[in-house]
Structures are given as structure tokens and as C-alpha cells.
Symmetry: C2
Subunit: 200 residues, 2 copies
């Protein structure tokens, strides 16, 4: 049984959304499963790396505003360029809560959040929006809201993000296979090549 592809994501990242669609295709072709792992750009980029957020970075912000829809068109997947900025904490906490019980359900929720926000342009920042979406997947929305507000879940998310940082992960999406890190949705072809060739 080959090792899984570790997929590090932050739901606030449109490149993460595109990467989430691409990595599942790559994994299917390579006979691997995908293990979704949370990271928070607000911690890695802002606090640890000491860089400002992309939307506040001159020149680069204009490039990515053009590049993300271009990449989505190339991948033939839906993307709403007018989707609002997303605050990911509520949804990321709901993910962590579910992931400790059932990773497949957690992944399904994360995929639903990615799709609602970045493909449909529905703001998934607030806890009620996440709970309503989770209800559509069969979860009790009241339980989701309790989990999102729970100090234990907050600490659990922070611990998982710290573990990601300790593993050298800093950007979204990042993919790890057999200890090798690939950063960026545009590195999916290289990730696939690494698996099919055994590396170089």
C-alpha cells in the first residue's frame, strides 16, 4: 500500500481550492489516497514568515487576481473571481472537529466549503454558514456550532497547524509524498511525476 499524499490546505485560499480538485485527480491516477491536513496562512505567512497577506502586496496581488481564474479555466473548474475574502477559522475548526472522528466526513465538509465559497461565491466565513452547510451533509448544526466555539477544538486546530509548521509547511496548497514537499497548485504535474518515476 503506497503512502498517502498529504494535502495541506487553508479554506481561505483560492489556490488551495484549485489544488484540492487537482490533487484528487492526481491521487486517483497514481493509486494513492489523499490525507487532508489543516494549516492557517494567518499563522504561517503573517506570524512565522513575517510577510504581509497577498491582497496587501503590491504588484503580486494584481498578478494573482489574473492568474487564479486563468488557472481555473485551464483546469476547467468553476471559480468565482468575485467571491469575498474568506475568514477560515470557523470552517477550519469544524474540519478539525470532524477529522478527529471521521476523516472522510471532514474532507467532504472541506470540499463543500471550498465549492460554496470559491465556485459559488457564497461567503463561508461565519460559523452559521458553516453549520448550515454541514447540516446539508447530515451533521447536527447545533453540534457544529458548539464545536466551532469550543476551546478544545481551537487548541486542537492550533496544535495541528503547529505540527504543519514543524514539518516545514508554509504555503497553500502544499503536497507531501514520501517526505517530499511540493508547494503550489502549479506543482501538481511535478508531484505526479515524482510518484510515477520514484523521484529524481
Amino acid at each position: 500500500m503506497p503512502s498517502p499524499i498529504l494535502f495541506y490546505f487553508d479554506l481561505c485560499s483560492p489556490y488551495g481550492y484549485l489544488g484540492s480538485l487537482g490533487v484528487e485527480q492526481v491521487a486517483a491516477r497514481c493509486g494513492r489516497i489523499v490525507e487532508w491536513r489543516p494549516i492557517l496562512l494567518g499563522i504561517s505567512v503573517l506570524q512565522v514568515m513575517g510577510l504581509k497577506p497577498l491582497p496587501e502586496t503590491p504588484l503580486k496581488k494584481d498578478y494573482v487576481a489574473h492568474d487564479i481564474p486563468r488557472l481555473a479555466r485551464l483546469m476547467a473548474v468553476p471559480y468565482r473571481a468575485d467571491a469575498p475574502a474568506m475568514h477560515p477559522l470557523a470552517a477550519m475548526r469544524a474540519f478539525v472537529w470532524l477529522d478527529d472522528q471521521d476523516p472522510a466526513q471532514a474532507r467532504r465538509l472541506a470540499q463543500a466549503v471550498f465549492h460554496a465559497h470559491w465556485a459559488q461565491g457564497r461567503d463561508m466565513s461565519a460559523a452559521p454558514a458553516v453549520a448550515e452547510l454541514a447540516a446539508g451533509l447530515g451533521h447536527d448544526p447545533g453540534q457544529v456550532l458548539v464545536a466551532i466555539a469550543s476551546p478544545a477544538i481551537k487548541a486542537r486546530l492550533r496544535a495541528r497547524v503547529d505540527a504543519a509548521l514543524a514539518a516545514g509547511i508554509f504555503g497553500v496548497p502544499s503536497f507531501v509524498v514520501d517526505g517530499e514537499v511540493f508547494w503550489g497548485a502549479d506543482r501538481l504535474p511535478m508531484l505526479e511525476r515524482w510518484m510515477t518515476t520514484g523521484g529524481w
Copy 2:
């Protein structure tokens, strides 16, 4: 006659070195010429974008230290991971001086600097090193040193970098074809696809 591929480079960037090798192959396959254009990361990244240099960015600096030799191995080109950091001003000024007279000669010098520094690990930061390399290409080393120290050439480089920034270029390597910007050595396959398909 199809339009040229604009290749924006800074000689201090190892990704720029790898991009310089890749873009010439892509251009040959697509029947385009490559027009080399200078940019200075010290201005774009530090002054305009307000980000710190890569070697001072936690986590990311470790990733790129692993990624650059991995990309070089994939491309099957020589790369010296122990090459010193490079101060590009002298070499970039020599490029601009030559480029105003003969772009083909300027490109040859830039390629020689890239190779000496990043493939052979010879420090190309200082003006005498650049002049000596230029002498090997048939240029008068004294003239090269005068050009590097010339206020007019300094101003000319600055003007060209300002023009690059005004065109939205911020990172190295960047490739522009028919008005479309692609940033990053790993975007060469996408650049090629854009040219062969006419875009999407």
C-alpha cells in the same frame, strides 16, 4: 512573425538561471525569439512589494534550498547549491550597456554570468569578475568597467526596471507572451501551452 517571449530576469536569482535555460528551449519549440529584460528583485520585492528577501524568510528559505536543486535535476542542468549569494548590480549594468548596442551580445553575457555563478559557483558579484568574463566574450574589459561605473548606465538600468514594474512584473523569472504574464520557472509548461493553443 510571432511576437517575442519577454524574459524578465535578475542574475542574482537561481530560479532565474533555471528559467533562462528553460525559456530558450520553449522558444525554440514554438518558433519565437526571446527578448531578455532586466529587473532587480532588490527594488521590486524589497522596495515596492515591501517583502523581505527569500534568504531571510523562515520556512520558505528552507523549502527553496531543497527545491532549486530538485528543479535543476529535473531539468538535467548543472547547479551549484553552494554558490554564494550574488549582488547583481555590476552584471546587470553591463547587460544594459551591451543591450543598448547589441541584444544578442547582451544575452550572451547574461547567460555566461548565470552559468559562471550558478552552474560553476564562481562569484560574479564584483565588477572585475564581470569584466573578466566579458573579456572572454570579446569585449574590452576596461570599457566594461567604465560602463558599470557610469551614472548614465545606472540610470538606464533603473529606468528599465521601472518600466518592468510599470508592466506589472514583480518576480523572477517572469515570462510575457502576447501580453500574458507567467511568473516562475515552473510555469514554463503553461507558457508553452498558451503559445501552442493560443490561450484559454
